[in-house]
C-alpha cells in the first residue's frame, strides 16, 4: 500500500471515493475510529435539529459533481421540483437524504476493507514517504483530522448553564444563544419553536450568504487571486471569509420577525441572567488545538501563519511534498488552500489535488 488517509470522517471519506476511481480498496489504508464516516456529522446535525443541508445538489461525497443529489431526490420524490430548484440554486438535500447517500457509497465502495480502526497520533517523514505510528510507511498521506474540538468562549467555560449547540440539549423557557452563524440561526428557530424566549448574543451582525463562502471562492476565479496574496493578507482574507454567516430566505427571517414583534426574540451584547446559554460558537480554530497537526509542525518545522499551516494550493505541505511523496491536509485544516475546505465541495477539491499527486506513484 502506498496511499493512506488519516481520519475517517466525511473529508477522508470523500477523498477515499475519489481515490477509488483509480485504486482498489486494498491499495488504500484509512485510519480512523468511526466505521460510519458520517458519525460525527450525524451527532452534530441531530444536536441542532438540522433538517436540511446548507450545501446544494453537488454537496455529496462522489468524486465528480455530476450527478448531484437532486437527481436522486427527483426520482425518490417523483417530482421535477428538485431539478428546477437546483437550476435556481435553491435545492438543499435533507439531512436524511444526505446520510442515506453516504451510507450507499460506504456500502458499495469497499470502505470497510480499507478501514483500520486505529488512531494515528504521529506522522513522521522518512525516506520514501511517511511513517504512521508503526502502521507502515506510505508515499502519499492525506490527513483529515476534522475540527479540533468545540469552541466555548473563555468567559463561559465552566458555567453550568452552558451547553454547546453541537451537544445534545433541550430548551429552557429563556435561552441565550451565543454566536451568529448557521448553528446559531438554527438554534434561534429551534428554541422559538419550542416556545422559549430567545436572546441572541453576538459580537457582530451575521453575514447573510447562501454558502459558507462567496461562490467565486469555490473556483479558480477567486482562488487564483487568493493564492497569490502575501501570507499576512491571506490570513486576514481568510478570517473575513470565515466570519459567521447563514443563508438568506424567508424561512429564516419570518419566524424571527414574528418572534421579535411578540417580544420573544431580541439581540443583546452580553449574556445576562438566562437560565440556559447555548454556545453556537463553532469549533476551536488553528492547528495548535489538534495534537497530530501540532506534532507534525513541531517535528518537521512546517511553516505556519496565524494558526494556519501554510499549504500549497492543492492542500499539500510544501516542505514535505515532492515528486515522490505527498503529505496533504483535508477538511478544516486545509482552509489555507481552499477557504471552504470544511465543506463537501472543499473535501472534493482537496481530494482531486491529492489524486493528482498519487498519480506519481
Amino acid at each position: 500500500m502506498t496511499v493512506a488517509i488519516v481520519g475517517s470522517g466525511l473529508a477522508g471519506f470523500t477523498a477515499y471515493q475519489t481515490l477509488r476511481r483509480e485504486l482498489e480498496p486494498e491499495e488504500i489504508a484509512v485510519f480512523g475510529l468511526d466505521e460510519d464516516p458520517a458519525a460525527t456529522f450525524r451527532r452534530r446535525a441531530a444536536a441542532i435539529r438540522q433538517r436540511e443541508m446548507r450545501s446544494e445538489s453537488d454537496g455529496h461525497c462522489r468524486p465528480a459533481s455530476f450527478p448531484g443529489l437532486s437527481f436522486g431526490a427527483a426520482v425518490r420524490r417523483r417530482s421535477v421540483r428538485p431539478l428546477v430548484d437546483t437550476v435556481r440554486d435553491r435545492f438543499h438535500p435533507t439531512v436524511p437524504e444526505f446520510l442515506a447517500h453516504v451510507e450507499r457509497l460506504r456500502s458499495r465502495s469497499g470502505w470497510e476493507r480499507s478501514l483500520h480502526a486505529q488512531r494515528i497520533e504521529s506522522v513522521r517523514a522518512v525516506d520514501g514517504g511517511f511513517e504512521l505510528d508503526g502502521h507502515g510507511t506510505f508515499r502519499h498521506v492525506l490527513v483529515a483530522p476534522g475540527h479540533p474540538g468545540l469552541n466555548v468562549p473563555d468567559e463561559l467555560a465552566g458555567d453550568p448553564r452552558v451547553v454547546h449547540a453541537y451537544e445534545p440539549h433541550d430548551y429552557a423557557a429563556t435561552v441565550t444563544v451565543v454566536g451568529a452563524g448557521l448553528a446559531a440561526a438554527t438554534e434561534w428557530l429551534n428554541a422559538l419553536a419550542a416556545g422559549s424566549e430567545v436572546v441572541s448574543v453576538r459580537r457582530r451582525e451575521p453575514v447573510r450568504q447562501q454558502l459558507n463562502v462567496p461562490r467565486e471562492y469555490l473556483s479558480r476565479r477567486a482562488l487564483d487571486h487568493f493564492h497569490r496574496l502575501p501570507a499576512q493578507e491571506r490570513a486576514a482574507r481568510l478570517a473575513s471569509l470565515l466570519a459567521p454567516s447563514y443563508p438568506t430566505g424567508r424561512q429564516w427571517d419570518e419566524p424571527l420577525a414574528h418572534a421579535a414583534a411578540e417580544g420573544r426574540f431580541r439581540v443583546e451584547e452580553r449574556v445576562n441572567g438566562a437560565r440556559q446559554v447555548i454556545c453556537a460558537t463553532g469549533f476551536r480554530r488553528g492547528y495548535a488545538h489538534d495534537p497530530l497537526l501540532a506534532r507534525v509542525v513541531a517535528e518537521h518545522g512546517v511553516e505556519t501563519k496565524d494558526g494556519w499551516i501554510v499549504l500549497a494550493r492543492d492542500g499539500s505541505i510544501p516542505s514535505l511534498t515532492d515528486a515522490t511523496r505527498t503529505l496533504a491536509l483535508a477538511g478544516v485544516a486545509a482552509q489555507w488552500a481552499f477557504p471552504a475546505a470544511d465543506t463537501l465541495t472543499g473535501a472534493k477539491y482537496i481530494a482531486h489535488g491529492f489524486l493528482r499527486r498519487c498519480r506519481t506513484r
Binding site: 437546483t86 437550476v87 473556483s219 479558480r220 482562488l223 482531486h352
Partner: protein, 385 residues
Amino acid sequence: MSYTLRGRLESRLAALLPVVAAAALLALAEHKYWPVEAAALMLAVGIALDATVYHAFLSYQPGWASLPLGALELALVVALMHVAGVMAPLGQAFALFGAGWLLAQVLGHAGFPLLRLSYAEDGGELGRLGAAAAVSIGATLVAAGTTAYALSPPVVHLAAGVHQGPLVITHREVLVGDRGSVVRGGIVVKANGVTVKNVSVVGGENGITVENVRDTVLDGVSVSGARLDGIHVRLAGVMIKNCTVDMIGNHLGQGIDISYNMDMGMSMVEGCTVTGGMEGITTHSSMTQVMDNQVSRTTMRGISVTEMSMGMVMDNEVRDAHGIGIWCNDRSMCSIENNTVIDTTGAGYAILASFQSEADLRGNQLAANPIGAAAIESSEVRRDR
C-alpha cells in the same frame, strides 16, 4: 458556476466542437454552407460575449441564467446572419442553435465534470482538452472554408455589350454581368445551383426560364420585352432578389410566374419592380414569399397566389392593377401583411379571396380602390383585431 475567462472560452469551444463538426458535414453533404457560417457566427458571438460581457459582469453564473443568455445569443446570431447575408432556413438555423445550446448544457453540467473531476473548481478550464478543442475547432472551420472555396461554383463574367441568346446554362456557375451586359433572346437555367447576377435580358419567349432545377438565385437581373413571361419558373426552387421586369405592352404574360414547386421548399421574390403584364407576380401550387416588391400597371392582377399555394405577401406596393390588386385563389392560404394597394381600376378589388381560399390580413393600406378586401365563393378573409 464561477468561470474563469479561460474556463468560459475553453468550455464554449469544447461544447461547440461537435456542432461545428456536424455543420461542416452537413455543408459538405448538402453543398450549402450556411450551417458552417451559422456555426461560425455562434462561435464568434459567444466568444465576444464571454470576453467582454459575461466575464466582467457574471462572477457567478447560476444555472437558470443559461436561458436568457442563450436567448440573447440567439438574437445576436440571427441579426448577424441577416446583416452578413447568410441564407439560412430560419427553422433549421434555430434547430442548429438549439442543438448547440442543449449540448452545451449537457456537457457543462454532466459531461465535462465527469471527464475532468476538477472542472467546477477550475472555473470551467479543461486543460489539454480545452486547447485541443480550440485547435480542432479552428482546423474544422479552416477546412470547411477551404472546402467551400474549392467547391464553390465558377464565376463567369459576361462582358459588357449585347450577347445573342438564348443563353442556356447547363452547369453550376455564377454568371455575373459586367456593367452594360445584355443578353438578347432570353436565358434558360438547366443546372442546379446557378446564380445569375446583374444581367439584363431583352426579348426571348420567356426572359429567364428556370425549370426542373434547384437552388437558383436571380439577383439584380432586369428583363424586358419577353413574349410570354418575364421570369418563368416551373418545378424549380428560386430566390429572386432586386429584379426589374418590364412587361409594358405584353397584355397576356406574367412578370414573374413561379409554379408547381411545392416540393422544392420555400421560394422568394424580394425587392423587385414589375411593370405591366397580365399578372405582375403569380404563384401556382407553390410556397413562395413575395416581399418588398413594387408591382404596377398590370392588366388583370398585381400579385396572385393561386392553385393551392401557401404564400406570404408582405410589404409590397401594388398600383394601377386593372382588376385585382392581390388575389388569393383556388384553395390557397395567404398571409397578406403590410401591403399598400392603391388605384385599382375597373370594377376590381384591392384584395380578393376566392374559391375556398383563406386570407389573413394585417396592416394593409388600401386606398382609391373600387372595393377594399372581400371574400367570395366559400372563401374567408380574416382581419387582425
